[in-house]
């Protein structure tokens, strides 16, 4: 995972350098948007969450603890905001299940698209806590240590959560005929 320069950019950002913030946005908009997309499935919601994440980062830079890696901090905000969005959706929308937005991601050819949609459907059957560990590990390529930092959990708990999530996902994929 690329981390070089984040600390310097954050420092410049704190000093009022807007270009530094723009560089952080450029660097992290893709992973943050994709994390939200896989958590939520809906591209509009994912865009809103990504926007909120960066605005929170900007407004709370003074609170950022440089002892932590910047990506851990921003991914933590992304996961939390995605879970918040799921909560808001539950309160404001009827449960629509699988007919929700399927226009997820650029899954290339038709077969690839079917598999991609199948995986996204299977992901949505998982509880958000399980979904988030899958997203962090398999999409954002985080280590167990990163995940522990992001989720503020002991590494052991992260491992057991990820193991359970993978098994549930494998079952869902098998049931859905994807694997």
């Amino acid at each position: 995972m690329l981390e070089d320069g984040d600390g310097i950019l954050v420092q410049r950002c704190r000093g009022g350098d807007r270009r530094a913030f723009e560089a952080l946005v450029l660097r992290y908009q893709k992973p943050v948007f994709n994390a939200a997309l896989r958590m939520l499935r809906n591209p509009e919601d994912a865009r809103d969450v990504a926007q909120t994440v960066f605005l929170k980062v900007y407004e709370h830079l003074a609170d950022y603890d440089p002892n932590f890696r910047f990506y851990s901090w921003i991914y933590r905000i992304a996961v939390n905001e995605s879970i918040n969005m799921l909560g808001r959706r539950r309160h404001h929308e009827p449960i629509v299940g699988d007919e929700a937005d399927d226009s997820v991601g650029p899954e290339g050819n038709v077969d690839g698209q079917q598999v991609g949609l199948g995986i996204q459907r299977a992901l949505m059957t998982l509880k958000p806590d399980y979904r988030s560990v899958i997203v962090l590990r398999h999409l954002l390529d985080c280590s167990y240590q990163d995940m522990a930092e992001i989720l503020d959990l002991p590494e052991k708990t992260v491992k057991s959560r990820l193991f359970a999530a993978r098994q549930l996902l494998a079952e869902a994929l098998r049931r859905g005929g994807v694997t």
Binding site: F33, A62, G105, T179
Partner: protein
Amino acid sequence: MLDEKCLELLHAEIDGELSAAARAELSRRLLVSAEARALREDLRRACAELDRLPMAEPPAELRQHILGSPRVAIARNGTARTGGRWFRAVPVMRYAAVFVGGLLVSALAFEASRGLTGRGVEDVAGTMASAPVASRMAAGTLRVDLPELRGTLSFQPSARELLVRFEPDAAQPAGAHSAGSTEVVVARGEREVHLKGFAAPQQAEGGPGFAVTLPGPVAEGEVVAVRILASGVLVHEDQWRAPGAG
């Protein structure tokens, strides 16, 4: 039912974290357990599919929405959280701000009432007809003081048009993204004009700076939107309001 150790080995294999000894242990367990073999296959397939999922491109407008957000602009214009917190935390500063604010409001109210009711000699001399609204209006200015660009934007309304002039400061911010890549966009309703090329000083008719006219009489209280772009990205928004309306 697989035990915890077996599950740990299966997941460690997927994560590529098996030592030689652990690999041997896993092989031994796979030999004797059909359940372990089946789960291993399921997990490997599922994880392979997950790892093949492509990353989607974020919407093109996402970056602009973030950087153009008033929340970013406000924090940037000197009311960042820490400063604001300090300011609000000191009672004397709060009272001083209220006092100064009160003075400003009074002064503005006075000026506005003069604009509405009072009329200068030059407005009535030589004619009994009512002067066009715009002719009574004073020019206004907006100060641009950004890390990308510094200067003064002035608005000169007349009976036929609005003259907008931007005068860049002699000393501009240093760096690749400074004055040369910035532009000032002025919008009246649907019509907007762009002022740019500030790196090369030029003379506009009637004075220094960069000038442009927006046709049509200026109504009292009309709002003219101003946006500053740096390398095509919105970095600041402001507005000028023609005097004379409440």
